[in-house]
């Protein structure tokens, strides 16, 4: 690990200003990705801006039917939040699959999305929820879809002098959803495939991770199902088939492309089936 400077700003403005003045600066949230990469000399920050003193960037809050999750909220807090467990339990499931309990107590939801791994646990549930990323430059904020915020492998839409302050999930009620992660071992492993499917009324959303340079929504499949209350097995199979065709997986150590398509086909079908079956919970 290289030597670096360390700052622990007391305000958002100070944090952003430190970042814009230092080209080699990195924000430090939970550090569970950053420190590992630094140790392996994959990243060599000249300055670490530790955000942990910014307590306003932590917490989960429901205001007027809009759900706010601040960026520094710990993964374990998402996993065990009572409001979320009631309204969006599949988001808690996604949190519960991230790393190990030790990792989850350090890692943050904002860090997971900023790190922008195609396999990010929060990628598929957030984009399926149409979640929006709130970006601050210390003065003003701008908002964009999480789907657009993650731009590629380890790439996000933040400009220098900006910081991800949290997420907004509009109208979080009435979602039925399922999160699924296929990994080689149960915990402490990255996803070979992860999938979130959501049903809201007769609107369907399908998001797939680890099968492209970033998590993907499969809108053709969603459109095909739109308006149908109880799609039959043939239709679900067709939607699943589209998903398996539209993803662009690669062969890697965690699985082959063919195997990923297979998993996506079977599981999209299975999860949708669970959501649309009568009495399907969650």
């Amino acid at each position: 690990m290289n030597n670096f400077n360390y700052e622990r700003p007391r305000s958002l403005r100070e944090a952003v200003s430190l970042r814009s003045r230092n080209a080699g600066a990195f924000y430090l949230a939970g550090g569970t990705d950053l420190i590992v990469q630094m140790r392996d000399d994959l990243l060599k920050p000249s300055l670490l801006i530790d955000l942990k003193a910014l307590k306003q960037l932590e917490g989960i809050d429901m205001k007027k039917d809009v759900l706010h999750i601040a960026a520094l909220t710990k993964v374990s807090a998402v996993e065990m939040d009572r409001t979320l467990l009631r309204t969006l339990p599949f988001l808690c499931d996604a949190a519960g699959f991230l790393g190990s309990p030790l990792t989850r107590n350090k890692a943050t939801i904002g860090g997971n999305i900023c790190n922008a791994s195609p396999a990010a646990e929060f990628g598929t549930p957030l984009i399926a929820l149409n979640a929006r990323a709130v970006i601050s430059d210390g003065e003003k904020t701008r908002v964009m879809a999480v789907e657009d915020f993650m731009t590629g492998v380890k790439k996000n839409a933040l400009k220098r002098g900006e910081l991800l302050s949290g997420f907004i999930i509009p109208d979080p009620k009435g979602h039925k959803g399922r999160f699924f992660k296929k990994s080689r071992i149960k915990l402490v492993d990255l996803a070979t495939v992860n999938i979130t499917v959501i049903k809201k009324g007769t609107e369907y959303r399908i998001a797939i991770g680890s099968c492209f340079i970033k998590p993907l929504r499969i809108r053709t499949a969603e459109e095909m199902l739109r308006g149908i209350k109880e799609p039959d097995a043939r239709l679900l199979g067709k939607a699943a088939r589209i998903c398996a065709e539209e993803i662009k997986p690669i062969d890697d150590l965690r699985g082959t492309a063919d195997f990923r398509r297979d998993i996506v086909f079977h599981y999209v079908k299975k999860l949708l089936g669970e959501l649309t079956a009568k009495g399907g919970q969650r």
Binding site: S100, I185, L187, V188, L253, F259, I263, H266, Y267
Partner: protein
């Protein structure tokens, strides 16, 4: 039946508290003033001729204290194991990726890293040999010393194999292959070498075989063995991975310490450790079995190939054990077993729990299952039909005389599992479930305890026991505590001998200074060999105590005396506390410190004919696995693993169960998760995010069952058991997957992709 007071009890581990509190002292915890950090510059290529190694720039970096290449080695440039064909630092050729080329010592780790980056080499790359198949073509030769690319071969032949196959009702022929396995010990390889006065070097480290390390350091420094003292630190796991390769780690630190005159610490990072240290050999096996109509095994013909890597290291012995165990714990009148350790341009493989047997057991026990199905015989029944009994003859013609527990383990596993009920539950589950299928699989095995005939001069062990005047006892042995609980088990063996509480018996840290070369801590031999050596020492002390008591008129005849429950019974109900006797004996100037030396008797093996008594005695095990396969993701979950093991008299049931749990978990890892990816000889999975070992959530429920069948030649009847729990797991899971899905897997690990492909091709 003898009544035991200490043996057979769940005595708490001697080091339990320090392990839980984190106060155990590991090598990296040692900090002598002025300690330097060592590192190794390694070959970027898998195969080629070394034209130049440029260390000038590195040597000039401030804080770099020494940079050395092969030409700077004062002694011999070797890693001593069996054939001594491996240089410590490559000189003319590199034969595997990341082979050591130069070594560096620096003031701190950052400087060390800079120095390693500043070294350059010019290697004329040549095409390497990366698979067993390529190697056997002999188009390219890995090492000029072995013109046919074969380090070692063995043949074991018995009976008329041709006739057996010609007359068989059923023959089953298949090929099998297995991948590497990484030891994944918690503590990476670690050594610290410190120069002392008078030309002595102290070596502190994590290892299984202090005497191997002593050999290696003495060889590279060109100094006497007496100039090298090796001290065992707390060792965070070995599993075979700290048998021979710690010699390399220590030799590197020793060379740099010798050059600089300062203490030198060499601790491997995990990625370096995974890519350059030994592993379980990948294998390729052709296996043919012949059966009679009623299920009797008539003949076995097998060719067993191990992918040994670039140097022979331990492969000749690993292969030997595999060959001896190739048929399994079954009577078989006709065998032809051929084994080959094949050279490739890859990291040298070595010892790993099971030592060349898990691969061939995977083949033989899968064969057994296939045959059972074809013959319409229950897979349990076919094993019972053929299992060893008293008077049975092994593949090498050894007649088994006592302590043969295979049938007992089959019975124990079957009844613990309640197999009839379990099978019908599985059947009804499978009928109901669409996406999930369950299955049950069985495997049996035997294991030759200790080094066996091929161990030659290493088949020995020493022990030192000292009784103090307050009745407390210290002991030293030459085998290592590496986390398995040896100190505690041996302490129980000693306390049983004196009839005292185990808490009064304390082990001394293992060191080459304390007892003579006792061979390696491998082959499940520590309890058996060191236990017997300790009992010899204890008996000597007890015999001195008896003479003393006779001369002091404390007893009338020696046969009256019993050592029990902290007392020495001196005839009838008369007794004297052991503490009091110790104090009296001390005052009477009795010799209460003794040395024991144990030599296992009765192995014979002719390497040319492949016949003879291979091992002194064998241990036995039966595994039953119950699995569930998700037919959408093809993920296999082990629901339950029942492992019934017979290893003589159990000394500490809790520690033995711990060994079974751990070995089973490692077996599950090898079977289902651990998949080393190697491309052109380069290991791509060099960390735990790419090379996956199972976590507690992946191993399911493990149920150890201990079966006793005491062995007269063992300490209090004990044999050895450390390796067995891993050895037969793959076939039990493979057979269970077949039972669940109908897909027969012949390649380890069983990846979801393989099950998927097998399923689709049906």
């Amino acid at each position: 039946m003898k009544h035991y007071s200490s043996v057979g009890k769940n005595v708490k581990r001697y080091d339990a508290e320090e392990k839980v509190k984190g106060t155990s002292v590991f090598t990296d915890d040692l900090n002598f003033p002025g300690t330097l950090y060592a590192g190794v510059y390694r070959s970027p290529e898998s195969c080629g001729r070394i034209k130049k190694i440029n260390t000038v720039k590195a040597a000039k970096i401030p804080g770099v204290r020494a940079v050395m290449t092969a030409k700077d080695i004062p002694g011999r440039n070797i890693v001593p194991v069996v054939f001594d064909d491996q240089p410590l630092l490559a000189e003319k050729y590199v034969r595997y990726h990341r082979e050591p080329l130069a070594i560096v010592a620096a003031d701190d780790r950052n400087t060390l890293k800079k120095a390693l980056k500043a070294i350059e080499c010019d290697i004329e790359e040549t095409e390497g040999v990366f698979t067993i198949r390529e190697s056997l073509k002999k188009k390219r030769i890995v090492n000029g010393l072995y013109k046919d690319n074969i380090f070692q071969q063995y043949v074991v032949e018995k009976g008329d194999v041709k006739k057996a196959f010609a007359g068989a009702f059923l023959t089953v022929k298949n090929s099998y292959s297995t991948n590497y396995q990484e030891h994944a010990y918690l503590e990476p390889q670690s050594m610290l070498v410190k120069p002392e006065l008078n030309g002595i070097f102290s070596v502190f480290g994590s290892m299984q075989c202090p005497f191997y390390v002593q050999d290696a350091v003495s060889a590279v420094l060109g100094i006497g063995l007496a100039n090298v003292s090796v001290h065992l630190m707390s060792t965070g796991g070995g599993f075979g991975g700290k048998e021979d390769v710690p010699s390399i780690v220590a030799a590197v630190a020793a060379l740099l310490s010798h050059r600089t005159g300062r203490p030198v610490k060499y601790i491997l990072d995990r990625d370096e450790d995974i890519s350059v240290m030994s592993k379980r050999h990948p294998s390729y096996i052709e296996y043919e079995s012949a059966f009679s109509k009623n299920g009797k095994l008539l003949g076995v013909r097998t060719d067993y190939y191990l992918d040994a890597g670039a140097y022979s290291t331990l492969s000749p012995i690993v292969l030997w054990r595999g060959v001896i165990h190739a048929v399994g714990p079954y009577e078989c009148p006709a065998v032809s077993i051929k084994g080959y350790a094949v050279a490739t341009n890859k990291v040298p493989c070595g010892a790993y729990r099971g030592f060349g047997t898990p691969q061939i057991i995977f083949a033989s026990e899968t064969q057994m299952d296939i045959a059972a199905e074809k013959l319409g015989i229950d897979p349990v029944r076919i094993r019972e039909l053929n299992a060893f009994k008293k008077g049975s003859e092994t593949a090498t013609g050894q007649v088994l005389k006592e302590s043969i527990g295979i049938r007992k383990t089959i019975d124990a596993a079957v009844s613990r599992c309640d197999i009839g009920k379990t099978r019908s539950e599985i059947a009804s589950f499978n009928k109901k479930q669409r996406y999930k299928k369950r299955g049950l699989g069985i495997s049996c095995l035997f294991y030759g305890v200790g080094l066996g005939a091929r161990g030659g001069p290493l088949q020995k062990g020493g022990a030192f026991v000292s009784v103090f005047k307050d009745g407390t006892v210290q002991f030293s042995v030459g085998t290592a505590e590496m986390g398995q609980g040896m100190y505690t088990v041996l302490g129980q063996i000693v306390s049983e001998s004196f009839g005292i509480n185990p808490s009064a018996v304390l082990p001394q840290r293992v060191s080459t200074e304390k007892v003579g070369d006792s061979g390696p801590t491998v082959a499940s031999r520590a309890t058996f060999i060191s236990g017997n050596a300790l009992l010899i020492a204890c008996d000597k002390i007890k015999s001195s105590l008896l003479s003393f008591m006779l001369s002091e008129k404390m007893i009338r005849k020696a046969s009256d005396v019993k050592f029990e429950k902290g007392y020495v019974y001196t005839g009838g109900k008369k007794k004297i506390p052991f503490t009091e006797l110790s104090s009296k004996a001390w005052a009477g100037r009795v010799k209460m410190a003794e040395y024991g030396w144990y030599l296992p008797q009765g192995t014979s093996f002719d390497i040319r004919t492949g016949r003879g008594d291979a091992y002194v005695v064998y241990s036995y095990a039966t595994n039953i696995a119950i699995v569930e396969v998700d037919m959408l993701t093809y993920r296999t979950k082990v629901l339950k693993l029942i492992s019934a093991e017979e290893f003589g008299k159990v000394v500490n049931p809790l520690l033995a169960e711990g060994q079974i749990q751990g070995g089973n978990a490692q077996g599950i890892g090898w079977s289902l998760y651990e998949n080393m990816v190697v491309k052109n000889g380069k290991i791509l999975t060099d960390d735990f995010s790419t090379y996956l070992i199972p976590s507690i959530l992946d191993i399911g429920q493990i149920e150890p069952v201990i079966v006793e069948e005491p062995y007269k030649g063992g300490p209090w009847g004990a044999k050895g058991m450390g390796e067995m729990p891993l050895m037969g797991i793959a076939p039990s899971i493979g057979n269970a997957i077949y039972d669940a899905t109908g897909t027969r897997l012949k390649k380890v690990p069983f990846t979801p992709e393989d099950i998927c492909n097998g399923h689709k091709s049906k």
